[in-house]
Symmetry: C2
């Protein structure tokens, strides 16, 4: 079997296929073998919650003649640690994973970030295949090469920019995703609608309910991925236009952190962060308020928060925003949107305006 | 002050200056500022044994307007661990080191490997300045971008290929180097003589005693660095010609490991490994035995071992050679030398011939 990828991503002078379809997990072995990504072994690192998908992947790899040792990782951000990197690398060494072999990451963003950094670092870099099983990971973290783990001092403080050799997205895995996680992924989809322009925004706006018709969903994911691929191709190292992908993330990260990474999941914080970014865009970039209202209705329809919990303090949010590792020492470097499809980076609305935008989220 | 670098290294499409001279430490700040390697802070990571040199470097950086927090690392291979990476990265975070700042590595190979991996990984990569203070680090580990730490399962099993923004070699630091460490560095110098050809070999052969005349030594280092720079430029990711730099290292690593990384320092094991590689080269590549004899005399004159300790068993050495992460599953991929200046990679002499070459080291 030979399959055309849904699209081809390019970054850092290399390209890799992004495969997208229903039931792709069982074809992992063929796709990895075709692309010559592993000489002898492929270490399957997976979220403990998706052991069934990992088993399908491993069986497929073995059918293609590769050894496929499995390693389960506890769900949740706490697994993004250097201690876990060490545990995985030692497991790889003891299982005879070598320089021309590969790591296959099966799970959501945590697994992709963690296993991606392992792949970048183990024996100074082995092959990497992302098999994202959440909507958030498909449209966001599996593309673009950002990998890393956390320190107590900050998220993603240790990592690498390391592009995969292939990405496999099996939309069938989304059927078993908890509704809250589907909604979280959709917050990033809404972001792509705003970044890409009115056409994609309209598709997102007319989305009936999650997950939606399978073929349509695959097409929506493909369009989001295509947007990100284009941005990463232009700016792999995040020195310019790639920063546009942070729309909603400056305030969003502040809210997520101030709430102790507990009250809000990432996508929920981004939902609120997008509304704050649009409010600021109205004030300093002339965005028509209709876009914020339409965005708010989309987010609400898919059960994403549009009002900030009073238990999360504005001063705390502001304080945590300043600690984002991308923030400059003196300015916030926010992304604003004069109109859909035309994001601008390096906007500095000033602390006062940010505070007001956060306060307005309290409705 | 503006200085011309001794040479310019290129790898992965980027280039960096290699400065070489007497008393360069005190110019670190100017050179780092000129090259715009750090926006605000440069974290000086140093071997505890060279705290005085690190202080000179930090003072120089501060005079150029940079914050220069210091962090001391215990001497020895045991510091090449992921736990130490975490300790350093947390120190960097607490000291406000950011994405556009830099790490300055002051020390020998251990510090360069460790701090280099920190620079590659902290916030997905910050600036890196190597300030090697040993002969071994100057001619070998500070050039070429290989960084990493060890696992219990193997040396350098976790790392990155990450090029520095600049390398500063102050030959004055060699004056305080213990004689045994100078000799160890010279083993690699002998290797470059063999790899580069008769002209450099003759310079090495006529070396009176270590360290030797300062200007001549700087020139010798420059020639070794130039050889390595050329090889790395052609093959940064170690997929081809870069393997020639492993001359003497297949058996050498085996000896080093079989002796528990205690009896022989790295350069001493390489001394023995070079002799074994030349013996094998005679048998399968037609090398004139005179070269081994001349090499043996050079090594002996500089107090490097030319006879293998009977306490280190041949079977142990063979066993540890097979575990080198570069070794193929079935062959040894050795470097052999039909004549000086013309190394060949991927030679497989077979286990029997390797065993004989090791036995011959017992004199």
């Amino acid at each position: 079997m030979s399959r055309e990828p849904a699209l081809t991503a390019e970054a850092g002078g290399r390209s890799y296929p992004v495969h997208l379809g229903d039931g792709l997990l069982a074809a992992t072995g063929e796709l990895v073998a075709e692309a010559k990504l592993a000489a002898d072994a492929a270490l399957v690192i997976h979220d403990a919650n998706v052991a069934n998908y990992a088993a399908t992947v491993a069986t497929s790899l073995e059918r293609s003649g590769l050894r496929a040792p499995l390693l389960s990782v506890a769900p949740g951000e706490a697994s993004k640690s250097l201690a876990e990197v060490e545990r995985i690398c030692r497991h790889a060494a003891r299982n005879g994973v070598r320089r021309r072999d590969a790591v296959v990451a099966v799970g959501g963003g945590v697994i992709g970030d963690l296993a991606g950094f392992v792949a970048a670092s183990y024996q100074r870099g082995v092959g990497l295949v992302h098999v994202p099983t959440t909507l958030l990971a498909m449209v966001d973290s599996a593309i673009g090469g950002k990998t890393g783990v956390d320190l107590p001092e900050g998220k993603n403080y240790v990592g690498a920019v390391y592009q995969p050799g292939a990405v496999l997205m099996d939309t069938a895995t989304l059927a078993s995703l908890p509704p809250r996680e589907l909604s979280c992924g959709f917050a990033e989809v809404v972001k792509y609608g705003l970044l890409d322009g009115e056409e994609l925004f309209s598709v997102v706006e007319s989305w009936p309910e999650l997950p939606g018709p399978a073929d349509d969903l695959a097409d929506l994911i493909r369009r989001c991925v295509a947007h990100k691929v284009g941005v990463v191709q232009a700016d792999e190292m995040d020195l310019g236009v790639r920063a546009t992908l942070n729309l909603g993330h400056t305030v969003g990260h502040g809210i997520e952190a101030a709430a102790g990474y507990a009250r809000y999941h990432h996508g929920e914080a981004i939902s609120l962060g997008l509304l704050a970014a649009l409010r600021i865009s109205e004030r300093i970039a002339g965005l028509d308020p209709e876009w914020r209202e339409r965005t708010r209705r989309i987010l609400e329809r898919h059960r994403l928060p549009v009002r900030l919990d009073s238990a999360v303090g504005t001063a705390d949010i502001e304080d945590r925003m300043g600690r984002d590792k991308k923030a400059d020492a003196v300015s916030l470097n926010m992304v604003v949107l004069p109109r859909p499809g035309e994001p601008q980076t390096n906007a500095d609305p000033g602390r006062e305006m940010v505070r007001e935008a956060i306060e307005e989220l309290r409705g």
